[in-house]
Structures are given as structure tokens and as C-alpha cells.
């Protein structure tokens, strides 16, 4: 790889260039930590559920609800969708809704849920 011989430095450390948070009013570090804590708790709940005696539809529903909550929280806060332009989320929604719909049809057609 070529080493740059001539470099024009731009301000690499501009202490005064300190944005308070992310782009347009994004989460602060405190919010991130809180979200991370919730994610951790939810994960612990999921693990507890799997060791508990709960079985069947109740177990599956609880686990899926917990995981969807985690899924949405990472998207909203860590991936910033809650604070970002609506279009990013719209494209992602196309993918996730499309995938879920199409693949559920495949599984239903294959009678997986009747087992």
C-alpha cells in the first residue's frame, strides 16, 4: 500500500468541535447505557425463561416478545432510527416485513405449524 508522502492535515483534534450528542438530537451516553442495561435484563429474562418450567405456546410467546423488544430497541437507539430520517426505517421495514411475510408463507405452505 502506498504511504502518503504529502499530507495536508485537517483539524484532527478540535476540542471546540464538540457536538453534544449524535446528529439531530440523538441519544446521550446515558441513554445508551440505559438501553444496554435493558437489553441485558431482557436477555437474562430470556435465559431464565428457558430454564424455568414454562413450556409450549407460553414459553415461545414470551421469548419472541422479549427478542422483538430487544430487536426494536437496538434498531431505535443504537442504530438511531428513532432520531433519523423516516426513509431509512422505511427501507429497512421493507426488508424485514417482506422477509417475514414471504418466509411465513413458505413455512405455512409447508405445514410447519401443524406439526
Amino acid at each position: 500500500m502506498a504511504e502518503p508522502e504529502v499530507r495536508e492535515q485537517t483539524a484532527e483534534h478540535a476540542p471546540e468541535h464538540r457536538a453534544p450528542a449524535a446528529h439531530q438530537g440523538g441519544p446521550t451516553v446515558r441513554v445508551y447505557l440505559r438501553v444496554a442495561a435493558i437489553l441485558g435484563v431482557l436477555t437474562a429474562v430470556e435465559v431464565w425463561l428457558s430454564y424455568s418450567g414454562i413450556t409450549g405456546g407460553l414459553l415461545i410467546t414470551a421469548l419472541i416478545l422479549a427478542s422483538i423488544t430487544k430487536f426494536v430497541m437496538v434498531l431505535a437507539y443504537f442504530m438511531h432510527l428513532k432520531y433519523d430520517d423516516w426513509r431509512y426505517g422505511r427501507f429497512f421495514l421493507m426488508g424485514i416485513v417482506g422477509a417475514t411475510t414471504l418466509y411465513m408463507i413458505v413455512l405455512i405452505t409447508s405445514k410447519v405449524f401443524l406439526r
Binding site: L59, F78, R87
Partner: protein
């Protein structure tokens, strides 16, 4: 100055959205279809293996839970890296990026170890449908994590050799989006494959 110029150029787009970020979200959207197909294949064949080992024979939920916490923590360190980048704090940014990379490596290492244990317990790719679908699905995920680790290390390298643009939070944000996505795929895999018990074939 240069920051303003870059910001201006990015937002001269028809929607005001930067091209790279739009591209990344489109790409992540398509990845939903990719992992969806692999997960669907797993679901189709769940409980259909004609011989052992079956999931409950080999799964160590405690072990995998630790892996899951590690990957979750890496998402936290990733956003902390982004926050540092936005403040222009290069040292902290590199620190958190490296932390994320190491947590990712720990996760992948944990996966590799898990695979070797399963293999020793008799689960190969072709042993049964469980082996086939499990290894390919989690293997694909692991490859995605590995690519993410390379990108993280690349960012650290670029930052160290002062090749990142002044508005360095943008590339960090882009890698972050990819990294978090890989994490949420694992959120789905952990529940659907590991925690939801598979019925024994009769």
C-alpha cells in the same frame, strides 16, 4: 471548514440524506432476506432430523448466553465509540472500537469452540438436518461478524494513520450500523434456535 465542506457535499443529495448511509440501510434491508432464508430453512427442518445428536443433546445454554452477552456488550462499546468520534476524541474512539473488535473476536472464538465441541459430540455438517442447518446458519452469521471485525480494525488503522476524514464519526457510524445489524440477527438466532426447545423426533 473542511467539515462543513464535507457535510455540504453529503447533503447536496436530492433527499438530503448521505449516499453511503442510504446505501447501508438498503444493504441491511437485503440482508434480512438473506438471514431470513437461512432461518426459514432451519425452521422447516426443525425436529426433522432422522438421527442424533439433536439440539438438546449438544446445546449448552449457559455457555451460549455468555456469548450472547458478549455480543450485546459489543454493541454498547460500538455506540460509545461513535459518541467518542462525534466528540472528536480519537483516543477514546479507538479504544472503544478495539473493545468492540475484541468482544467480537471473543464471540467468534466462542462460536468456533462451540462448533468443535459439537463436532466431538458427533454433530457434523452431514450428520443430520440439525447439523446442516445449524452450522450453515450460525456459520454465515460468524462470517458476517468476522467481516465486521475486519472493518473495525480497519477503522482503527485508518484513524491511527490519520486517514480518517475530519468528520470521522460518519465512517464509524456506518460500520456501527453493520455491527448492530449483525447483533440483532443474533438476537433472533439465540431465541429461535437455542432457546425455543426443539421437540424430539418420534
Amino acid at each position: 471548514m473542511a467539515d462543513a465542506a464535507i457535510a455540504h457535499a453529503e447533503h447536496e443529495t436530492s433527499t438530503g440524506l448521505p449516499n453511503t448511509k442510504l446505501a447501508m440501510w438498503l444493504f441491511l434491508s437485503s440482508e434480512c432476506l438473506l438471514f431470513g432464508a437461512l432461518i426459514t430453512t432451519y425452521m422447516l427442518y426443525r425436529g426433522q432430523s432422522e438421527q442424533p445428536p439433536y439440539p438438546q443433546d449438544v446445546f449448552d445454554i449457559a455457555y451460549t448466553s455468555v456469548s450472547t452477552f458478549i455480543l450485546l456488550s459489543s454493541s454498547l462499546s460500538m455506540v460509545l465509540a461513535l459518541a467518542a468520534a462525534e466528540k472528536g476524541d480519537d483516543i477514546r474512539m479507538r479504544l472503544w472500537l478495539l473493545t468492540t473488535a475484541f468482544l467480537g473476536m471473543a464471540f467468534v472464538g466462542g462460536q468456533v469452540y462451540e462448533f468443535t465441541v459439537f463436532y466431538e459430540e458427533g454433530l457434523a455438517l452431514g450428520t443430520n438436518l440439525f447439523g446442516t442447518t445449524f452450522y450453515i446458519l450460525t456459520g454465515f452469521h460468524g462470517v458476517h461478524v468476522t467481516v465486521g471485525i475486519l472493518m473495525l480494525l480497519g477503522l482503527v488503522g485508518l484513524s491511527t494513520s490519520r486517514q480518517l476524514p475530519a468528520q470521522r464519526s460518519f465512517p464509524v457510524e456506518m460500520v456501527g450500523l453493520y455491527w448492530h445489524f449483525v447483533d440483532i440477527v443474533w438476537i433472533a438466532i439465540f431465541v429461535l434456535i437455542y432457546l425455543i426447545p426443539t421437540p424430539n423426533p418420534t
